[in-house]
Assembly symmetry: D2
Homo-oligomer: 372 residues x 4
């Protein structure tokens, strides 16, 4: 059950889109870690709805209010709780949804599961808005990882049918991340970027929406993060990734493409690079047997088109128990892919930091024994 990710770090996400606040409690972060709030806000701003074509018109500052766990911006070892107050709520927009569920949304399933008692306003706990507290937690972990030389970034590799290139899985570095992070529309190619934006604009003009694919890379990882079977890095990242609404697929390294490859193509030959074993290519995406190989960790996430569209759709009236038409009003993103980019980085940071804590303890045992 539920909104608690509870391994070495414990994360509890709470709130509904139109409740007083949304927020998170992150437990298990060591005491004495400095948190750069300005940097965290910069990270959160990348997720916040903006003043561009592809964002909802709902304006929220998404400023985390820390109620405990920090003393003058340094962790004190107690659970860290931050709230984001919901300000710009217009619940009236959602009156119709209680009766007529929106296709592609959790309206119907939540209604059935929660017996009609679910919060319908703005999608309640199922709203994409809940990725804001996920980004607070992920943003904190990201800062802690950076202090250990581990960096991550994500970029858009497709919008609708327009494709863009992703990171070079062998040479990707922190500077690539700086580049994509500086943009509201994170992409590695200016040209395709314009085509992707045009794809969004076109969908918007037609009262429709469009999906896309995000690629995330992490560099600076030691060999050995992740454990066998159910707690490999793929298992952890995948479990967290599907907490982002609209994610419908995930693949690591070559992913689905590897299914049509030969072993001789897909296997990455080992080579030596100073004191480290590396691979010449990186089809494996930095994970072998669930464990990080020291090569860049690379994965991709499929984001479905936003289900909320202006076009008329077929649905049912739960009250009258009859089929009906639905016209969604409200404020919606024609494409959530750009805003999902930092969320993907956030879940990567959470999964990696969680595995890192575990690895440190084991490694210390090895050092003491002299086997490393």
């Amino acid at each position: 059950m539920s909104s608690v990710f509870s391994e070495n770090i414990k994360l509890s996400i709470f709130g509904q889109s139109h409740a007083e606040a949304i927020g998170m409690t992150l437990d298990g972060i060591p005491a004495g870690e400095p948190i750069d709030r300005k940097e965290l806000q910069t990270f959160l701003n990348r997720r916040a709805p903006g003043s561009n074509d592809w964002s909802t018109k709902r304006k929220e500052s998404d400023e985390p209010h820390f109620v405990c766990g920090l003393i003058e911006d340094t962790t004190c070892g107690s659970p860290i709780t931050a709230l984001i107050y919901n300000k710009n709520t217009r619940s009236g927009d959602y009156d119709a949804i209680r009766d007529v569920p929106r296709p592609g949304h959790a309206d119907m399933t939540a209604h059935m599961k929660y017996g009609g008692f679910q919060d319908v306003s703005g999608g309640g706990h199922f709203s994409g808005r809940l990725t804001a507290p996920l980004c607070i937690a992920g943003g904190i972990c990201m800062q802690l990882l950076e202090s250990k030389g581990i960096f991550m970034g994500a970029t858009i590799v497709s919008i609708g049918k327009e494709k863009a290139k992703g990171f070079d899985p062998v040479t990707v570095s922190e500077s690539d991340f700086c580049c994509v992070k500086s943009k509201m529309f994170p992409s590695l190619e200016s040209e395709t970027e314009e085509r992707m934006k045009a794809e969004i604009a076109k969908a918007l003009a037609e009262q429709d929406s469009v999906g896309g694919v995000i690629e995330c890379a992490i560099v600076g990882l030691p060999v050995g993060l992740g454990t066998h079977m159910f707690d490999g890095m793929e298992n952890r990242i995948a479990r967290l990734a599907f907490a982002i609404p609209a994610v419908k697929g995930i693949e690591f390294g070559e992913g689905f493409a590897s299914a049509s490859m030969r072993g001789s193509e897909n296997n990455d030959p080992f080579c030596l690079s100073g004191e480290q074993v590396k691979t010449r290519t990186n089809h494996h995406g930095g994970i072998l047997g669930g464990i990080t190989s020291g090569m860049p960790l690379v994965f991709r996430i499929a984001v479905k088109p936003t289900p909320s569209i202006g076009k008329e759709q077929d649905s049912v009236s739960l009250g009258k128990w009859e089929e009906t038409k639905l016209q969604i009003k409200g404020r919606h993103d024609p494409c959530i892919v750009p805003r999902a980019v930092p969320c993907v980085e956030a879940i990567a940071a959470l999964a990696i930091y969680d595995a890192y804590i575990e690895w440190e303890a084991t490694r210390r045992a090895q050092i003491e024994r002299g086997s490393v």
Copy 2:
């Protein structure tokens, strides 16, 4: 950490490929449930290495030996432990691997993580052989689900570049599953089946291997399984899926294809069907907001080509710290996709049974209150 999947049911997988035994403990199954051992063995036989072109030549009967938890084939409420003894082990084959890691395998990462103390024989705990106890656990859950009218099956939808059709996501039914389960090479089309087998034979002849994609469908699900955020059905299934070695991707419903679709295409219109709300199409794959919608649950798994190939490969000698060539001997599958099919069904059964237990408790509360 690790080989324990521990939610409402607790599953602990243990063993190494060449240890005395591999096995599993499954805790949390109610008392009084009859287990049909013959049916379970039939299920396990689908995973066991066979006498065909695509299987390893290692012969193992894969017969579970139950040491506790069952009394005359009925669960007694205590943890259920079953062992599979490893008989046909030829550890000598793996002597070279300790020094020269096989590309695409966990040899190098396990070496680094476990400081050289890992079990290298047959891949140790990272061997595909560990999916046998996973199938015991999944097979038990599958029987319990069938008694509730929930059925599942998986089929091969591609081998290398050869594609085959999958299930119809709207009309798929138990009879489709019977059809694929009766075949050693589970597929819905005779013609493409032969082409896919030929693809494997070709890879084998060239001392190479090939990957593929498996589709799994589950029918008879009630609305409401799965919970918000980190414990939606996608999160649970994905977390378990990556416990199967060689899995590099997972997608639900339209998955990656939905990323290039418009919302108006991808959204599934709601309609009424007797006392139930259904969707006319099933791009969402039976999950909305992490919660089952009552439509067939459909997901696909990308399986990479078996990393163990006969062809010479580049690797490194960890002892001499120099680059070297590797020629793998041993017995390996040129394609593990057919044998992975029941494993995919097994993880689906585990995830769904786990969610089902949770749902039953909540539902009972609703019934008592009269809100259902």
Copy 3:
């Protein structure tokens, strides 16, 4: 790790004594459950510092502010988060503690564990104040259990060397609970009550403090709550009980007294009572093999004397690394036993509700099979 109790219900407690707020997130409560806020406040008021001899002079209203999870006082299925804002903080009182740890407190251990970064004000996360959010969570569970006919109450059975009688373990009923709950000093005997109060007054006059023992009973329980080995009812209750600061012991039924009894004395003979199996006596405290027997569940908690006393004590200066004297100022309870009473009820409610959810799912399976 930590402040998350994470079984069928997930509880996350956060906050420090002098942070902006303390609070809790409770996840896993079904949708549609009405929460009586007035009743909850009445419960919380029993824990809040009062205007009597044994309470700290710090005044806090302890009013929970729900930020999400409730819609018009009914659960909506999303996590429930409530904050209690800290108003009457006087952090200056604690300046000395950072350097000179208070004997009997977590000051020294927290300093060492958290490397000096812990929040020292008011004891930080180790403050008894953190039992307020524990009582919010427990108070909610208590209301849900009452709707199922399960009632609980706790009473003081000793203060210092003064003893009072506890509940009759066989005949205890809801009316006994009403009686003790109506009193600021919960006790079953007026006479001993005065003697116990006098004990506290005497300790206060001598700038000292005094401990005591609390007994808790739960009635209306079905047979079958709790599971084998690590998740029996004793394991669950005990794990939660030690979350209340100052608790140093717990015993069930006859507890430590049973250690000096003969089996023939301690065993409770079974008898029939209508459609139920009962026991004539209740030395077992309502739990056999970790599972509820249907008899009243009875346990006792040892509460040590409040470590904060006015008397001068020996301690050390961590800064100067020398032994020194410590005189604690601040505001402290000469005896926290009366205020700990609702906390004990709260952890009982949490443990039982958690086990109840599990039991309902299993029971439903039995009913469907016809074995119950």
Copy 4:
């Protein structure tokens, strides 16, 4: 739910008293740790039924058979599974129990919970025999802790009404443990030892049984093990302690006695001892705020008298639904306290090793930052 203790280390206990085997899987132990099997067997022999007055006449060698996780007595990083085969089973003795539950046993509650499908032979999964796998897991952790300079031991401090002295909570050391561990009847005083043995002999002669109290101490602990709230050392130890059947109470340091003390008596003054902060007395039992203080950790366990006694008792026939008399035959211990002593050490080792892993990771972070 269940027989899985699942924190940093994951322990799964399985088996029934008269099943083919009982056993355990321990996951999360680092690779490369040498396990001294002879030392482990010596530890297990202390729990095994012996040839003395207070043990059952059932003879079992209790020899663990490791099926995986060890390579030549060194951990390989994979889960460690060990079985103990049940040899000397006489299930016929238990035929009567299915119908007439034994007072003080789990027979009735297990019957109700598991709908009559529970394994009644020898108490099934509720048998004290299940503490053998608990001791395998605990014995392994104990060896790992000893390599870090952490030692533990337990002694009997009462049998029936006969009391014996416990460890000196300030000066207790490894040599005290050697002394008690060398005896089949672990006790610190020869004189009281004979009186305690006589108490058992007397109970046996009267076809009765008797309980007792065990004290456990752990030395060499660093400051800082354990975390706030639900994962303090008391919470962890208490949760595990109640997995030992017949345990009805636990107390730390002064425990219940502290409830009748004044704060000025119970508080332990801090003092300096070389580079460490110590306390002059140790009423707190080595734990403050749930965190180890560096002083010896001391706790006591109340063990009820064995419920299986030869004397006739009142019970009910579940089949005929009438009250009846019960005369237990079978082979039973008149006092299980001596055999419970290593079990208490085992659960202490598990709890401490689990907390140690966590602490190492955090500590490493502090060292890197230079705050330690």
